[in-house]
């Protein structure tokens, strides 16, 4: 330890000796910040604020060259939380989602679900690096566009941050004052990975692997990237919280519209175009392992803290509130769903507990950073009942083969969540709602925000449905959608991947 200190001392002395040499070469010395300014920069770290706001003169400009050591650098606490959150969100897909979905398919198709989830992790990462991140998040905060330039409100720049150019460890202050932009971009990548993976539930056991890859590539470009930009991009047309000139003043904290509505509604359309599984509904197709499904559900719940609380893009008060509301809504919904089953079907099932938990997580997602504990409780009850009713009754009425209920849980849940967010968003839960939404969030049930949320739901529905129809027919024409009847009947594991999930014991 002593050696370390003496070494550091030596380095300090040397750098002090070198600094004046360089300084003397520069023509005009940069202005030095006052102690007050340096402290105010540091305080901004604690409050997740702008570290340079204390440097502005009376006209609101920062004198040329004036800075403090805490401007333009990531804050360790916020950065640590976001790296942990990014890992948690990846954990939701690998292995959370593939166990949740994998347990629900028949044993001959478990590996196809695993393969599809892994493939999406790789495919989406490539798209994200090449231009995806740029199309979602590039755009300057200074020239909020909104109505004036609708294109920029719909997609970001294809080139500004292509190949993650300029995406360094320094924060991108359009999105977070204290989180490295490379961490932010990886965090958002995890959302881009899990969203298409959710679609897999509706089309499980009967979509060709090559068709899946082509469909998802086009879907990311045509549906996800634009939608994510509209809702979360700094000049996005539906970014009500941060874009004062947004065309639609909607709010979506962690992805009710972007993630769950987009994937859920697209899943319904794709499963209708794809058709039913061979033998559905005549042959029994029960889950091959409710144990795997339950394990996956637990992982989804844990990972979702990164998804929801992490969406504050800081370890701040908003994240803390989101952590609490996520817990409340999920716990309530995971209890209400099986209780409804018990009352109306006779027995509370494990799949009911699991489905309720996921539905609770889905419905609280757009709301978690904006509602109070009471709001979360209400959301939990609705989340336990409405998706349950869709899976129990509505699916049977229409007879579509939404194999693992992506529509019933994610589309219905996401839509209910987006709407309930409109009713239940409160400035006491998140003071950022006062910034640009003072006219919309009135802290009352029928506040004008509800109408804005309905508009956002409409745009999301239109984009997801029209986009998916077009993409599905392109894919059908190019590579075809379904595997051969024989491949489907022996199972996609063996037919498409040449492997089996389980080898029975005692075979000779």
């Amino acid at each position: 330890m002593k050696k370390l200190f003496s070494f550091l001392f030596l380095v300090a002395v040397m750098s002090c000796g070198i600094c004046p040499v360089f300084a003397s070469n520069t023509p005009a010395p940069a202005p030095t910040p006052t102690l007050e300014q340096r402290v105010s920069s540091l305080e901004a770290y604690i409050n997740n604020g702008d570290p340079s706001s204390g440097l502005k003169d009376t006209n609101g400009n920062i004198p040329t060259g004036l800075t403090t050591p805490t401007v333009g650098v990531p804050g360790p606490g916020h950065n640590a939380w976001m790296m942990a959150s990014a890992a948690l969100v990846l954990f939701m897909t690998l292995p959370g989602l593939f166990l949740f979905y994998g347990g629900l398919v028949r044993r001959k198709n478990i590996l196809s679900v695993v393969a599809q989830c892994f493939a999406l992790a790789g495919l989406v990462t490539i798209l994200w690096v090449v231009f995806g991140y740029s199309t979602v998040f590039a755009g300057s905060g200074g020239d909020n566009i909104g109505k004036e330039d609708i294109i920029k409100g719909v997609v970001g720049s294809y080139s500004a941050n292509a190949m993650l150019k300029d995406v360094t460890s320094a924060p991108n202050t359009n999105y977070a004052y204290w989180v490295s932009q490379n961490v932010f971009s990886m965090y958002q990548l995890m959302f881009a990975i899990i969203t298409p993976a959710l679609i897999l539930g509706a089309i499980a056991e009967r979509l060709k692997f090559s068709a899946m890859l082509l469909f998802m590539t086009l879907w990311m470009v045509i549906v996800y990237f634009p939608l994510a930009h509209m809702v979360w991009g700094v000049n996005g047309m539906m970014n009500g919280v941060w874009n004062a000139k947004a065309s639609i003043h909607a709010i979506d904290f962690a992805g009710g519209t972007v993630v769950h509505m987009s994937s859920g509604w697209s899943a319904l359309i794709l499963c209708l175009i794809l058709g039913k599984r061979q033998g559905f509904p005549r042959e029994p197709m029960p889950p091959h392992s409710m144990v795997l499904c339950a394990i996956g559900t637990g992982m989804l719940w844990v990972g979702w803290y990164g998804f929801n609380a992490g969406s504050a893009v800081a370890a701040d008060a908003v994240a803390a509130n989101a952590f609490m509301t996520t817990t409340i809504a999920t716990a309530v919904a995971s209890f209400v769903w099986p209780m409804a089953e018990w009352r109306f079907r006779g027995k509370p099932s494990v799949l009911g507990f699991c489905s309720g938990a996921v539905a609770g997580l889905v419905v609280i997602t757009p709301a978690c950073g904006f509602v109070t504990a009471g709001g979360a409780l209400v959301i939990g009850v609705f989340a336990g009942l409405i998706p349950w009713f869709f899976c129990w009754k509505v699916k049977g009425w229409f007879g579509y083969d939404d194999a693992l209920d992506t529509f019933g849980v994610h589309a219905v849940g996401g839509t209910v969540g987006a709407l309930l967010t409109g009713f239940l968003a409160r400035t006491s839960a998140n003071s950022n709602l006062k910034l640009n939404l003072a006219d919309y969030v009135k802290d009352s049930l029928m506040q004008p925000l509800v109408w804005e949320q309905l508009k956002a739901i409409g745009v999301t529905l239109a984009l997801a449905i029209v986009g998916t129809i077009i993409i599905a027919f392109i894919v059908k024409a190019v590579v075809g959608l379904r595997p051969s009847e024989e491949a489907e009947s022996i199972g996609l594991d063996l037919a498409e991947h040449g492997e089996e999930g389980y080898h029975s014991e005692g075979t000779i």
């Binding site: 629900l104 509904p281 029994p284 197709m285 029960p286 889950p287 089953e341 079907r345 027995k347 099932s349 799949l351 009911g352 489905s355 899976c391 129990w392 009754k393 699916k395 049977g396 209920d405 019933g408």
Partner: protein
Amino acid sequence: MKKIEAIIKPFKLEEVKDALSEVGIEGMTVTEVKGFGRQKGHTEIYRGSEYTVDFLPKIKLEAVVADSRLDAAVAAIVKAAKTGKIGDGKVFVSKVDDAFRIRTEEKGDQAI
């Protein structure tokens, strides 16, 4: 020499095994099987889907016994496996022509 094939409820296996030992039956073979008789299957519900499972898990116990022990053995099985409810199972008896013990090459009743 007779072969007894008993289809019983899985949770009754231990009692049946003990009852057979008491009447001097020293060997048996047990297999996990699935099937149905008058009991039929049960219903499983997964969200909106309801499936009827026809085949229920049962245990098939096989033992070959000397003619002199047959009645005692069958009585022991019936007594131990009975719950009085539907699905208790059945016992089948058939003739066996001969038997051989591989290690000692004994035959017939000596081999069982």
